[in-house]
Amino acid sequence: MVNWANFVSQLFNGLALGALLALISSGLTIIYGTLGVLNLAHGAMFMLGGYAGYVAFTYTGSFVIAVVAGSLFVALVGIVMERVIIRHFYGRPHEDQLLVTFGLSIVCVEVVRFAFGSQSQLVPPPPLFSGITPLGFMFYPTYRLAVVGIIAVALSALFVVLYRTRIGMIVRAGIEDSTMVDMLGINVYRVFMIVFGIGAMAAGFAGIVNAPVVSLTPGIGDDILVQTFVVVVIGGVGSFPGAVLGGLIAGEIISITSMFNPGYAYVMLFAAMALVLVLRPYGLLGTRGRE
């Protein structure tokens, strides 16, 4: 029952999902690394990106505008959230931070449910990438191939921002030791706000780019959030390369297992996570640091 075309097609699916997870997880992991806050509303940011893009697409009919509007809107939501609520929680226990971001995620999801209802919404792929592409031995949806490319570009952009710019250097220094950054005279709270915005934007961007692949529902972020956690645990919290590696591993595990039996996809994913926890408790590319 396993034929090669099917297998390769699943490999591609895994790559697309993995790239998506890598991008979302990068957002989660740089927020946690810098601010020390695990954002349980990160899945909701992914969902919001999809819906904001959907609205923009409905009004303009342009997929590019949808992507830009979706990402920027989520970045804005992230910044407002950080300014108004999250920053009051930096001095409080992790548990409180988890509670409040969990509450925020429910608020986001329910606002969308209130506005758009529970039925699913569709965003068609842009005409340039519609249809299927013959790959010689099989046919593959063009847009999914495009997703891999688009996300690779986004990840590269994030890489450039993190590793080649001044603000990126401050962020990476903040991941190492945010107190020290503060003492060096850098306004660390402004950095926190920017990081939260960028992290949320990564999830929002993924949300709208992924929208043509799946249909949008208010609860779409929940599953993604759980997968993102596994990615981060596998890759190592606070590590950008770890998020990318973990994302690709998780994407392939889910896809290839689904080929045999979709019901076991999560079991395999969990088994991989357990294995990493036993062999390398701090993740594949993580370092022993704050918990």
């Binding site: 695990l38 969990f102 429910i106 606002v111 449910r113 996570m273 926890l277 918990e291």
Partner: protein, 613 residues
Amino acid sequence: MIMQRRYAIEALTAAGLIAAPLVLPYLGFAPNTVNRILVWGLFGIGFDILFGYTGMLSFGQSAFYGTGGVVAAWLLTRAGFPNVFLALIIGMISAAVVGYLVGLIALRRTGIYFAMITVAIAEVFFFVEFNPLSDFTGGENGLPGVPTPSFNLGLTTLHFTTGWSLYQFLALCYFVGIVIALRIVRSPVGAILSAIRDNPLRAQAVGHNIHGYKLTAFVIAAAYAGFAGGLLGVLQAFMPPDAFTFETSGQLVMQTAIGGTGTLFGPLLGAAVWLFLQDFLQSALGLGAAWKLVLGTVFVLLVTFLRRGIIGGIRDLYVWATSRRNGHEATDAESLADFSDIPDSGGMPVTIAPHRRAGDRSSGPILQARGLTKRYGGLVANSDIDFTVNHGELRGVIGPNGAGKSTFFKMLTCEVTPTSGSILFEGRDITGMNVTDVCQLGLTKSYQVNQLFTHLTVRENLTVAVLADLRGRFKLDLFRNVASIPGLAAQVAQTMMLVRLTRRADTKVSDLAYGEKRRLEIGLALATSPSLLLLDEPLAGMSPQERVETVKLLKSLSQGRTMIIIDHDMDSLFELAERVTVLQEGRVLVEGTPDEIKANPAVQEAYLGGVIE
């Protein structure tokens, strides 16, 4: 406080449960709503022990709730099992076993990692239940036809069906659940769980196997979840598959946070608020599906402003109201006054006997370190240190900043593993052991930076330390009252007297003056009755007068005890110690009596900044 009257909480709970069917209908609660509140409340008792008492926030309790529920429902509907109550118990045990296995993985990490791992594991259960095991669990159809309990008492048969009739059964279950939980919370294990929440590092350092206790709390929470899950099936006559969803875990967390953590009753209150508002918003206000938006918003506001939930808020209000009448802040002057309480001339009024173990000798070396070296990458913190301390000695260790004193101490107490070299304690090689086992052997230290259980009182702090001494590293006496352990109260009282904190026994650590905290820090180490006590800068940050008093205190402690003290205050150290070891740049520079050290030109050069001849 009501806690002081024995069984008062139990009696009040029973009274409340009996009164509920008489009162609640007038407040607009339907019997079915009340029953659901009880199931959530019972589910939450275990979760509160895990989160409120031990400080571990799990977002994966649905896994155990679902497991217990499905096992019980399967037994009753598919396997033809006749006894409802027994099925519930089997469901509970299954959930506990699953909880143990999951705990082995999830507890490898703490904090946010733990939260993430529990979410992921619960999601696995959700998918497994829906797919590979759907023949067994009914998949998305659930398991319909779960019977209600009936008990054949010989003369008559008690049958609990629906509404207030089933309420009686659920209320009884809840009552038993609360009674058991109260016993656990008041047991030595309960005391240690609170200590783990406050400061896991210190709980470990005073000699408790915290991993074992965390796993215990996790299994207890899973067992409560499993039993409650079974009751859900009974209540609805149907085991719904959505018991396994992330939403279930989330609702439990939110209800507990709304009601208040660390009270056992918080989840019940939270569930009452939650379900009442749900009904109220949906039907009375006609909000329909938007009820959850309102509740979510309320929750965010509550977490932001009312940190400890409704019960916490009421308690804070009570404390605020009463402390305005008779409360006062501790001052340093007052803390010094404690010293005058006890005459400290003429030896010690009380002593804690250090450990006496087989092969104990009263003379000869108690600690021997050979060639102790620690490298951090290229940095050599300690290099080739030979160090011997004899029984009954009071040794001082000095050295300039960065000489490697703290690293040296950390290696001796096995917080840090040496790169090379060995440590013999009472003739036994302890190199590479962990800090808990070493403390159990009788070697512990007081920390340079206070490591206390901040939310507990002085008495509770010392109790935690003494428990490690009396009970060993791990013991599951879940149902024993702390107060009934022989020798515990006496040893706590003695330690309090030794460190002059008797008058502050029931004060929370966060309300102590700095000097008092420093003394409690020493007291925690002392309470484990060590045969060798290490003190890392006990005088740090003290005022001159406090130093004088603390030196006196240390002198009195050293009677019949072996101690090693690190400090910067050389005058005090020279006054205290019989022999002094000087460390410089990670090596032993010289060792000798205080007079020899003072006269040594190398020490003067290194430590005092050189002497002009």
